[in-house]
Amino acid sequence: MADSTQATPAQFPLPDEEDPSRRDVIMIAAGGFAAVGLGLGLWPLLDQMNPDASALSMATTEVDLAPVEEGQAITVMWRGKPIFIRHRTKKEIDEAKSVALDDLIDPIARNANLPESAPATDENRAGKDRENWLVMIGICTHLGCIPKGQSVGDPKGDYDGWFCPCHGSQYDSAGRVRVGPAPQNMAIPPYDFTSDTKVKVG
């Protein structure tokens, strides 16, 4: 400051780099405000790409399970995603229960109805008090393909569950990943049995 006021009229008053002058403060403040303004202006352009109100509102799907016999499976849509609902056989349940947690690639239940740290036991994967039902999002956790295993003739992998045709991941009869490259068990969506034969997903 002092330097620039004492400069002779012939000299251009240069701001001192060591000691921020008033001009520096104005420059930094103006630049800072411009950056904030740019950021605020940019935000709507970016945020408009997030799921919109109509996508968020497609929140629940109710499904009638009465026609699904033991050994059968159905696929319903929830939020644009396929939901696998399998009526498991005794053999499938016993197989899933006999697996030690240490043998699993992903030891976390990935069940939206339970705490995040819940272990991936069959009990934590299957329906609460309804272990013959398995409700999960039928999307491979590798790159989002729909695994095979819902229809009668489908390949089910070596663990009586699901087999992803894209990159060969295999899931067991509790939807837990047993052969990679998928890193996680298939996710369990939030759901609730509203009666013995009705389930509400979402």
Binding site: M49, N50, P51, A55, T75, R79, G80, P82, G144
Partner: protein, 431 residues
């Protein structure tokens, strides 16, 4: 730019423009008389071919957009409508679809030419980096364009590729999922995804055109490299771009156009996948998802690495590593012609790209997976180990004294014209 202007406005209107917006001067200096090494071979014609392909893609794309409907319910049908009902629609769509393939073919030839002749070395690093940037933009544009057909392959390609970003969940839990939902505009690939891909597919080609202008600008500062990799040392070693290279580029372009037309008229679907003629079905993944041929080597790299996060890192790294090539190659000699050891590694790299392309089209198990890992390893080792180490230990062959000498043999002054058959002698060793 690099060469002093020789433009003399000859008419009144040219003089009027020259004092206001000197576009005629720019065209004269940078296009007509631009000094170009006299020994460029046909591998140098792909720059012109690529410019033609970009213009062709934009022209056909703009008119296709007049007939295309970007909604999940109508996208697939509108493409068939273009094929069957729109006047010349079949020609426009096949030219655009086949054009994408041949655009990549030309871009890969152009890139490998730059890699072989060391066109990325000083003072052309920025030129090379802009080229890699164009390649990246082309990859993004082609991917988005392929999705617009909204067939089974389109839909599942979008699903698989956008899901790559969910691998970031392994770095910061939740961030990958948020990012993927932001890209989708929902909780799965759907209508909002299609419209944004369409919007960006229309936008990106103009970004490419802008970077191409920078690419040509960066070319015209140092001027062209040439097959010897030796700098132009006298004005007699350069010839004006027009008519010499307009003719040569034009001839090569005509041959390329014949090849292009052969695909469009006789095998328009040869390079694509029949599954994409099945409308998109979000509930059924095709048994075997494969990308278009030009992405197969990268797809093979993705699948060779048995970890989701590192697979994605390998995929991105396989292209990003090209940005660093000017500094990875430690050799002082530009052209691979004079590099007896590196030459073998270079052709092994080209072969690796072909093998990875084949492996990318095969199911990822058994021997294909093992081979995929071996060749992925070589792909990266070529850049990270071969380029620095071979450049360091290799003794290059003797370089000719000048471009003229490489063409006419030694003892010819650059001013003389050849009066007899060129002689040969052992080139001088590099100091």
């Amino acid at each position: 730019m690099a060469n002093p202007s020789t433009y003399e406005p000859s008419t009144g209107i040219e003089k009027w423009f020259d004092e206001r917006l000197p576009i005629p001067r720019l065209m004269h200096d940078q296009f007509l008389v631009f000094p170009t090494p006299r020994n460029l071979n046909y591998w140098w014609t792909f720059g012109g071919i690529l410019t033609f392909m970009l213009v062709s893609q934009i022209a056909t794309g703009v008119v296709l957009a007049m007939n295309y409907v970007a909604t999940p319910d109508h996208a697939f049908d509108s493409v068939e409508h273009i094929m069957r009902d729109v006047n010349w629609g079949w020609l426009l769509r096949y030219t655009h679809a086949v054009g994408a393939s041949l655009f990549f073919l030309a871009a890969y030839v152009h890139s490998l030419r730059g890699l072989y002749y060391g066109s990325y070395k000083a003072p052309r690093e920025v030129l090379w980096i802009l080229g890699v940037l164009i390649l990246l933009l082309m990859i993004a544009t082609a991917f988005m364009g392929y999705s617009l057909v909204w067939g089974q392959m389109s839909f599942w390609a979008v699903t698989v590729i956008t899901n790559l970003f969910s691998s970031l969940d392994a770095v910061v839990p939740g961030i990958g999922t948020r990012l993927v939902q932001w890209i989708w505009g929902g909780f799965a690939v759907g209508g909002p995804t299609l419209t944004r891909l369409y919007s960006l597919h229309y936008f990106f080609p103009f970004v490419i055109a802008g970077v191409v202008v920078l690419h040509i600008w960066a070319l015209h500062i140092p001027g062209n490299n040439n097959p010897t990799g030796i700098d132009v040392k006298s004005p007699r070693e350069a010839i004006p771009f027009h008519p010499y290279y307009t003719i040569k580029d034009g001839f090569a372009l005509a041959l390329f156009a014949l090849f292009f037309a052969g695909f469009v008229f006789y095998a328009p679907n040869l390079l694509s996948h029949p599954d994409n003629y099945i409308p998109a079905n979000p509930l059924q993944t095709p048994a075997h998802i494969v990308p278009e041929w030009y992405f197969l080597p990268f797809y093979a790299i993705l699948r060779a690495i048995p970890s989701k996060l590192f697979g994605v890192a390998g995929l991105i790294g396989s292209i990003a590593i090209l940005f660093f090539v000017p500094w990875l190659d430690t050799s002082r000699v530009r052209s691979t012609r004079y590099r007896p050891i590196y030459k073998w590694f270079f052709w092994a790299f080209v072969a690796t790209c072909f093998v990875l392309g084949y492996l990318g089209s095969q199911p990822p198990d058994g021997v294909y997976l093992v081979l995929g890992r071996i060749f992925t390893a070589y792909y990266f080792l070529f850049f990270l180990l071969v380029m620095p180490v071979v450049g360091w230990i290799e003794k290059p062959k003797g370089l000719p004294g000048s471009i003229t000498e490489s063409v006419l043999g030694p003892g010819e002054a650059p001013t003389a014209s050849p009066k007899r058959a060129p002689q040969r002698r052992a080139p001088e060793p590099v100091a």
